[in-house]
């Protein structure tokens, strides 16, 4: 187990190099776009702006961006932060981290489960087998290296990819996933809803902010076990 900040960074850089050298059928690598302007030393560029390798909280989003999104032109935020803060997913995530953990995004470690660029539209389906392979090769090793207390996965498919690789039964839906946290390495892995606009709309039906309630429950657990 790696412990010091420098040894964690070295181990993560090795994983980043593995991702940069990878060539997965049907996907492109981040360095293939804009002469490598979006490339980073990390497994996912999202980590550029969320790279506290000693953070107790580790956020795992599903995937980064699509070819279409990268080809819409230069995006300075994507180059420097690894994310576009104006997107609902990122705005909501920032607010939830601040409200429930008192943390900014740069104070956590955040990454994407799937670290390659998916084709044809932000919403193109990534087959579960590819998510599982990414979980095995990149996500689980990052959790082991960073060694957080809490891993927050956003969305059922991300959560199930980890469960499946670890030999656990997949959850049928988000309701089941929310009640199916599990331990891995030094962490407890929780599922939460996507933080995109629709996820919140669904959950907030009836005037109850279910996203906030769920994050509050998770944060209470985090504090009580600290």
């Amino acid at each position: 187990m790696t412990n010091s900040r420098s040894s964690k960074r070295a181990a993560l850089a090795q994983l980043g190099e593995r991702r940069r050298n990878a060539n997965w059928l049907g996907y492109r690598n981040i360095g293939d776009f804009a002469s490598g302007a979006f490339e980073s030393v990390h497994v996912s560029p999202y980590t550029k702006g969320a790279c506290n390798v000693d953070a107790p909280v580790f956020v795992l989003l599903q995937d980064w961006v699509s070819e279409d999104f990268l080809s819409t032109g230069d995006n300075e935020n994507l180059k420097t932060l690894g994310r576009e803060p104006s997107l609902p997913t990122n705005k909501n995530l920032e607010a939830l981290l601040q409200v429930h953990f008192g943390m900014d995004v740069h104070q956590v470690y955040a990454t994407n489960l799937f670290p390659f660029v998916k084709p044809a539209g932000m919403s193109a389906n990534i087959p579960a087998k590819d998510l599982r392979r990414a979980a095995q090769e990149f996500a689980l090793p990052q959790i082991e290296i960073v060694s957080p207390r809490l891993v927050v996965t956003l969305g059922v498919k991300t959560f199930n990819a980890l469960r499946s690789v670890l030999g656990m039964r997949s959850c049928r839906n988000l309701t089941e996933a929310l009640e199916s946290s599990f331990a891995y390495s030094d962490a407890t892995v929780w599922c939460q809803a996507h933080t995109g606009a629709l996820g919140r709309a669904n959950r907030n039906r009836g005037g109850v902010d279910r996203v906030s309630e769920d994050w509050g429950r998770m944060a209470d657990w985090h504090r009580s076990t600290g």
Binding site: G26, A120, G121, M122, S123, A124, N125, P127, A128, K129, G155, V156, N160, S164, R169, S170, C171, R172, N173, L174, T175, L178, A193, H194, G196, L198, G199, A201, N202, R203, R205, R210
Partner: protein, 138 residues
């Protein structure tokens, strides 16, 4: 009489061979006998519609004069004992994306609407003046 799940499995073939185009099946093929909440809308929360509600809702849309058909894109089958799953419903319509958004309302609102089926999806005949609009649920 053929079991509906078996009929669907035969229709979609080896769904986990991703070199093959994703099948587009009818509402009846996908929903008949299907009570698996993991098959559609699995990220809806807290009140995820049942598969039968999705069926009923999209069947109503299919009945519209400006809709030629509604088809389910089968994505994969993670659980061999479960139902194959989908994240995209295709509406072949002469209406616009804004029309589709309105038909879906709040309850069935898409995470994103897609215009035109991509290459990795089974192609269907689109009548002149119509287009395929995908209702994508993340």
């Amino acid at each position: 009489m053929t079991d509906p799940r078996q009929r669907l499995l035969e229709r979609i073939g080896n769904i986990n061979d991703f070199s093959l185009p994703r099948p587009l099946v009818t509402l009846e093929e996908f929903f008949e006998g299907n009570d698996d909440y993991g098959s559609i809308g699995y990220n809806f929360y807290p009140d995820q519609p049942a598969p039968s509600e999705f069926w009923q809702y999209f069947a109503k849309i299919r009945d519209r004069d400006d809709v030629a058909t509604v088809l389910i894109q089968v994505s994969d089958q993670e659980d061999p004992d479960g139902w194959p799953s989908t994240d995209t419903v295709w509406i072949v319509t002469s209406g616009s994306a804004d029309d589709v958004k309105a038909w879906l309302g709040d309850r069935f609102q898409a995470d994103e609407l897609l215009i035109g089926t991509p290459d990795h999806v089974e192609q269907v005949e689109i009548p002149s003046g119509y287009e395929a609009i995908g209702v994508w649920y993340d």
